[in-house]
């Protein structure tokens, strides 16, 4: 990397979401550094869609994501562990039904 330019070190981080095809949800695929939202979109396009990975991109500034605290994972997630009846596994899904 160039020693004269900022080298992207002072650029904010952006999270990248790709919709792989129409009808599918956007999925998180990674992140890029960029000076602003427009170039973040360009960088995401150039970094993550080189092999026809998607038809739509979402960019979100990493700092604006509200995340759960790993320290709270007990109260947040453990209560679901013994509620097996919440899984839709008690009936057969026909083969023709996709994306479930």
């Amino acid at each position: 990397m160039s020693e004269t330019a900022g080298g992207g070190h002072d650029w904010p981080l952006w999270e990248v979401f790709i919709r792989s095809k129409g009808g599918m949800a956007h999925r998180h695929v990674g992140s890029v550094h960029a000076p602003d939202s427009k170039l973040a979109l360009a960088h995401a396009r150039d970094t993550y869609t080189r092999r026809q990975e998607g038809v739509s991109l979402w960019i979100v500034k990493s700092g604006e994501i509200i995340a759960s605290d790993p320290a709270d994972s007990g109260p947040l997630f453990e209560p679901a562990e013994d509620k097996v009846y919440r899984h839709p596994t008690f009936y057969d899904i026909p083969d023709v039904v996709k994306h479930i």
């Binding site: 990397m1 160039s2 004269t4 992207g8 550094h33 602003d36 170039l39 150039d46 970094t47």
Partner: protein
């Protein structure tokens, strides 16, 4: 990245007995063999060489760009351009574009001066890209309506690639121009370096006159005004002054090049010239 070829003793022997044997080719390379009309051949090679040489220049940034994402951006541009060059030079030479790319000497190259200019710093690379991609975008947009099915097909596909190149170059120009004091200075210096090569893009010589008369290709002078207005609009948004007009530099289409092109070709061509037919 492909690994380098394994060089066997037989390859070394082949290199020593090769007709060019490490010496530049002599005589007419491929133009003489070509069944296409000379002017059409010339035009394909001009477009192909523009894309090939700029693609090679951009590829020189690989691993050196200011940031990993920019590295990929520039490599993507380079790959688009080299893809265009492959189609154009294949079309010019009966499917053997590699022969034209790797076994022609500098005087047989027909690219414009702008694309062969050294990368300089990132500002100069972006200046070169803005000035070329804006031109290429307008040209391919018109060329997509050419009655020649090859040219219209190529342009219809490439115009989308080039539209992105133009947009990206404009975005960076605005950010560097309207950025820090240092980025604005570097951007202005880059534009100043490249400015004298603009007139060549719109030059109409005998080859172009013939093709334009046959309505095979667009007259670039038809979109010169739009080009100047588009560049002026980007510079205004970037808070940059338009550089002073300089003495135009012409001649690339006739094989007259800056000293930089020979060095570029030496790097690009040395493997296929030293080991003809090498594959990996």
């Amino acid at each position: 990245m492909p690994s380098l070829p394994v060089i066997e003793p037989k390859d070394v022997r082949q290199a020593k007995i090769a007709p060019d044997g490490g010496v530049f080719d002599e005589g007419e390379p491929t133009a003489g063999k070509d069944p296409l009309e000379d002017v059409y051949y010339d035009y394909l090679v001009r477009l192909g060489d523009d894309s090939l040489i700029l693609g090679q220049r951009l590829a020189e940034w690989c691993g050196h760009a200011p940031g990993l994402e920019v590295d990929l951006s520039l490599a993507n541009l380079a790959l688009d351009l080299i893809g265009q060059a492959t189609h154009l030079l294949n079309q010019a030479n009966n499917g053997d574009g590699d022969e034209l790319a790797f076994h022609r000497d500098v005087l047989d190259y027909k690219n414009c001066w702008l694309v062969e200019q050294p990368n300089g710093d990132f500002g100069r690379t972006i200046a070169r890209q803005l000035l070329f991609s804006t031109y290429q975008h307008l040209l391919y947009r018109e060329l997509a309506d050419s009655p020649d099915p090859f040219l219209s097909g190529l342009a219809a596909k490439a115009v989308k690639e080039v539209s992105y190149h133009r947009e990206l170059a404009a975005d960076w120009t605005i950010r560097l121009g309207d950025g820090t004091e240092e980025s604005a200075r570097r951007m202005a210096e880059g534009l100043d370096w490249c400015w004298r090569f603009i007139p060549e893009l719109f030059e109409v010589d005998a080859v172009m006159e013939e093709l334009i008369a046959r309505q095979c290709v667009p007259d670039p002078r038809g979109f010169e005004g739009e080009y100047k207005a588009a560049i002026a609009a980007v510079l205004a948004e970037a808070k940059l002054e338009k550089p002073a007009d300089q003495r135009p530099i012409l001649g690339g289409r006739r094989g007259h090049h800056s000293e930089h092109l020979g060095h570029l070709l030496a790097v690009m061509q040395h493997i296929p010239r030293t080991y003809p037919g090498a594959v990996w």
